[in-house]
Amino acid sequence: MIYTKEVQQMCCVAKGANHANAPIPEEGKWVHAKEIKDISGLTHGIGWCAPQQGCCKLTLNVKDGIIEEALVETLGCSGMTHSAAMASEILPGKTLLEALNTDLVCDAINTAMRELFLQIVYGRTQSAFSEGGLPIGGSLEDLGKNLRSQVGTMYGTKLKGSRYLEMTEGYCTRMALDADNEVIGYEFVNLGKLMDALKAGATGPEAIEKAKGTYGRFKDAVKYIDPRKE
């Protein structure tokens, strides 16, 4: 380190501000974070890509600055699913700082990483007040029992109205309409349950029946439609 001549010639003014930086809540403790190893917690970040055609939800469980667990969920881009596969291998084991700048080239995942970094270093994690944080495996809770992402797919036109294609409960098989032709409920097949039933040896129709459910006033409908065909 070299001081310029101008600085060398200055007189000294004492630095009186000597408090620690503002503490942030992390895993039930209040931490004055100075280095990346001082950062712990489980939280989420959401990212998108330059052409805005796809997005990523990233969940990391970080202990002492190191990513111990990564859940990468993507939407809207087939290439991103492959980048996510790479990310699930690349991110765990890296420090938070390293993970900002890996050689992953998916904008959405990198943007999610940046947004997650901001959340976590400013103390806004999901586990800010949880004593000891969450166990590794905690991010899988976001997926539910059948380990599938919560995805919604809906479509609507001015001419023909709304169509429910995929709800968090599953693949929408039928929509229920009342006497005014307005939506009052829907029927779905939970794809996680469907696959479990098929793997356990059920026939196709049996498995579908087992995985079926309805929401809202489905039974009160005067008309049922297939949202994909009608």
């Binding site: 809540p25 800010a128 939506v183």
Partner: protein, 271 residues
Amino acid sequence: MRSGLTSWALPSRSRRACEAIGEGLQAFCIPGSVADDRKVGLGHGNLAARLLSEETECFAFLAGHESYAAAEGAIKIAEMANKVRQKPLRVILNGLGKDAAKIISRINGFTYVQTQFDYATGELKIVSEKRYSDGVRGGVRCYGADDVREGVAILWKENVDISITGNSTNPTRFQHPVAGTYKKERVLAGKKYFSVASGGGTGRTLHPDNMAAGPASYGMTDTLGRMHSDAQFAGSSSVPAHVEMMGFLGMGNNPMVGASVAVAVAVAQAM
């Protein structure tokens, strides 16, 4: 905390039972945890006492109006409380957005109440009502507000005595400001109002504008809850793991409210 209960009309043995349930729940809070600090156990006991009191007329669910499922818990709680109440508890839903309120009413079979707020006079007019089903669900009145002021006016229109802030959507822009403003106005009017801060928002560490910069840029939803609530719950409404993260062992908020009321009702029936 217990002394606050004495002014509410409730047979003293039922009240004592509710208090005891609250104290029991409090014992399951890890010392030093957020759940312990917020007194979530005692809060649930107090809420149960309010719900069984004949003085309480209307229970409002201050909802985010982001999902079809938000009202389920409130309806079941009211059904349970009505087993021992002489006058049934009215239940309303009040959330941000008129189209959302209408669609939620239609799917769930509630009564959609369309309102128009006059910003100059503060008057709230009912434009139309549509009941989407018969029975208990049809009795639930669901409102959509354009903003905080209309939300507060809706609570006054229904003379709400108890409210629970709903899920995590819009907590800093609607549910907490509505509850806080109504609380102030009720206090000024000399009327009772028991406000519960619940839902995922209370467990989060969000900053209102999420600027991710500067000191204390976390915890706004927790702070808002502390500013107006008589009882604050721990973490997400229905996810046991989230509540456990906050230091309460056993169950999620919605099940905890349901269980507190169910046990209080059973005790009241047995007496």
